[in-house]
């Protein structure tokens, strides 16, 4: 859900002939964090001699060469498929027509998959590198996966405000800035229903997983009042618009903030005081998986410190893998509170829960009333 669509940026670059952007996201050898990483491969097996595994992951959500390294190491042929939204992935998984062995959904979707018996409990003893995962994030994951029975965290991040210090005089610490009239026309709001409501609900002091209609109505009123001030509701575009100075304040996922700050040093990321959302994408094994053992090998490989680092360098979304974080050589990134917020920030962030279809429909109808207002 939180992944910027790099392929879209790539095609935009091609389309507009912006050659500088082209080298930035196309053929560049250097990873996005500017670091090089070597994955140690101890075997030279041929892909397919030890069976296969069907992996269903977000688009652009794995480091360069990681799949090849896994195939060499284990001899398991990887059938790698990508999706762009949890919502795109879900019907494919739920229909049961495809036998995926390992999938990487987000928190609330994991919750939903558990409740619908579409994924199976994970035997942690089969994942030798499980200890690399920081217990802190396992604790956050318990909100949607009690006891961490079903999901092995892969990437995570927070939602916050990105603002341009050359266009904003004050230090922003509150979601209120997004509702401040002096920034009229300079605000980029998140065009994602849950995130938009999360902001309004936090500001009103309500729970971000609420299904109370009165609370949602109050949030809806707030969002309606905000609409005239909003320049646009965006998801992926926020990154380029903020870098280009098209707007002063935007809502963004923390994973993008590392990249935007490097492209435009005036941009500052903050997780507001009222609290925010912490999201976690993790590996799960569908109930109808046919190559379960190979799925375990895949998850185990993903938990290896060097592999996790290679993935982090490419994706730039925070890794829950503490062993990988130790390996980061760039001190700025290693100690970045954007990439790795401390306990003080995380304690005010909460993961999304799955909402029932009725509540989802209520959210959507209220969100539509904001949009058509």
């Amino acid at each position: 859900m939180k992944k910027f669509n790099r392929s879209l940026a790539f095609s935009m670059a091609v389309c507009l002939g912006a050659s500088t952007v082209l080298t930035g996201c196309g053929t560049s050898v250097e990873d996005n964090t500017g670091e090089e990483v070597e994955i140690t491969v101890s075997n030279e097996l041929k892909a397919g001699e030890n069976g296969e595994v069907y992996v269903f992951n977000w688009g652009e959500y794995i480091g360069d060469g990681v799949i090849e390294a896994f195939e060499k190491e284990t001899g398991i042929k990887v059938n790698y498929m990508e999706f762009t939204e949890n919502e795109d992935m879900y019907p494919l998984l739920a229909s049961g027509a495809n036998n995926y062995d390992v999938v990487c959904p987000s928190d609330y979707m994991v919750d939903k998959l558990i409740k619908e018996n579409l994924i199976q409990p994970i035997d942690k003893s089969k994942i030798t590198n499980y200890g690399n995962i920081d217990p802190e994030y396992l604790k956050s994951a318990e909100l949607f996966d009690p006891g961490n029975q079903y999901c092995v965290p892969y990437c995570w991040g927070t939602v916050g405000i990105l603002y341009n210090t050359s266009m904003v005089d004050e230090e922003i610490t509150s979601w209120n800035a997004l509702f401040d009239e002096k920034y009229s026309g300079q605000i980029l709001m998140m065009n994602s229903l849950r995130d938009a409501y999360m902001i309004a609900l936090n500001l009103l002091g309500y729970d971000l997983n609420t299904s109370n209609e009165a609370e949602l109505d109050a949030a809806t009123d707030l969002l309606k009042k905000q609409k005239p001030l909003v320049q646009a509701y965006v998801v992926d575009e926020v990154r380029d618009k903020m870098i280009g100075g098209e707007a002063a304040i935007g809502v963004i996922y923390s994973g993008e903030a590392i990249y935007t700050a490097r492209e435009n040093p005036d941009l500052k990321y903050v997780v507001p005081d009222e609290g925010s959302n912490v999201w976690i994408d993790g590996w799960v094994i569908p109930t109808n998986s046919k190559n379960t053992e190979n799925a375990y090998k895949w998850i185990d490989f993903m938990c290896r410190a060097d592999v996790a680092l290679a993935n982090f360098n490419y994706i730039t979304y925070s890794t829950p893998n503490k062993a990988a974080r130790e390996l980061i050589t760039d001190e700025d990134i290693k100690n970045s509170t954007v990439a790795f917020p401390g306990e003080d920030i995380l304690s005010r962030c909460k993961a999304y829960n799955y909402l029932t279809p009725e509540v989802e429909e209520m959210y959507m109808e209220k969100w539509n009333s904001v949009k058509s207002n």
């Binding site: 389309c15 575009e237 959507m364 058509s372």
Partner: protein
């Protein structure tokens, strides 16, 4: 006799295609549209969703914006076709190719390109500020959506109109002139009635996709403007309510049928009046 036996065989590829990609999906939409998500029983509640004020507003706005876009397309395309006909120079097919050249590019990319042009810090405003002119605030408004619709769908108006007008026999026009009609009388009394089929298919080919678009409003409207296409997309994408989404799609289809029927009706009337 032999040929007639071969006819079904020749029609087979299209038959398979239309069953697989037109008939079956339509039946599925009908099925979903008229059944309840909860228990699969027959219901009108999906269709009735259109009566919700937000959905009605979205539908109304979609109709208005796509009508405006269609009219603009027509005002651009028709004179162009007349000019091409009058000029009769060899390069006219090349000119048409230039017009449809952008169609070779993905429409999503073209829409994103417009976003870059119209943005507050975009190409257009950079040019305006360079000449000391005030900035134009077009992006994220209805204007931007109309520009996007016109740009994306204009070739669909130009091609059918141009095809029809080019095929009008010069003798017909010359006869009108011989009989004393001036240039404008020729256009209105002769060319216009003869070109109506092209105009009508042009109108349908622009109006229908404009009415149902959700990409243009998302990209150029900054998602601030909710069209009926966006509402349907949300039902499918966000709450997986295929029943509600199909119900609204059916309403939209009815609208399209009505507009096509209206256009066809006038078409027939004009043919009759032209005959007299």
């Amino acid at each position: 006799m032999k040929n007639r036996n071969k006819m079904p065989l020749l029609a087979a590829p299209y038959g398979v295609w239309s069953v697989a990609f037109i008939v079956i999906p339509l039946i599925m939409i009908l099925y979903y549209g008229f059944t309840s998500k909860a228990d699969g029983s027959f219901t009108f509640e999906n269709i009735a969703l259109i009566a919700k004020s937000d959905n009605l507003k979205a539908l109304g706005l979609s109709v208005v914006l796509s009508l405006i876009s269609t009219v603009i397309c027509l005002l651009i395309a028709y004179p162009l076709a007349l000019i091409l006909k009058a000029l009769k120079f060899k390069g006219s097919s090349f000119l048409i190719m230039i017009i449809i050249l952008p169609m070779w590019m993905n429409s999503l990319l073209r829409t994103i390109a417009w976003q870059n042009i119209l943005e507050n810090t975009g190409i257009l405003n950079n040019i305006l500020t360079f000449f000391g002119l005030p900035k134009a605030h077009i992006i994220n408004t209805n204007k931007a959506i109309i520009i996007g619709m016109v740009y994306d769908f204009l070739p669909f108006m130009i091609l059918p109109i141009n095809n029809v007008i080019q095929k009008i026999d010069d003798d017909v026009i010359n006869a009108a002139r011989d009989l004393g009609a001036n240039y404008f009388q020729t256009i209105i009394r002769v060319i216009l009635p003869l070109s109506l089929p092209g105009v009508i298919s042009g109108i349908t080919m622009v109006f229908v996709p404009a009415l149902t678009t959700f990409v243009i409003s998302t990209i150029l409207g900054g998602s601030k403007i909710l069209l009926i296409g966006n509402v349907i997309e949300q039902y499918f994408q966000y709450i997986y309510n295929w029943n509600a989404g199909s119900g609204l799609s059916l309403v939209l289809m009815v609208f399209i049928f009505i507009s096509m029927a209206l256009v066809n009706k006038y078409d027939k009337e004009d043919e009759v009046s032209a005959a007299f």
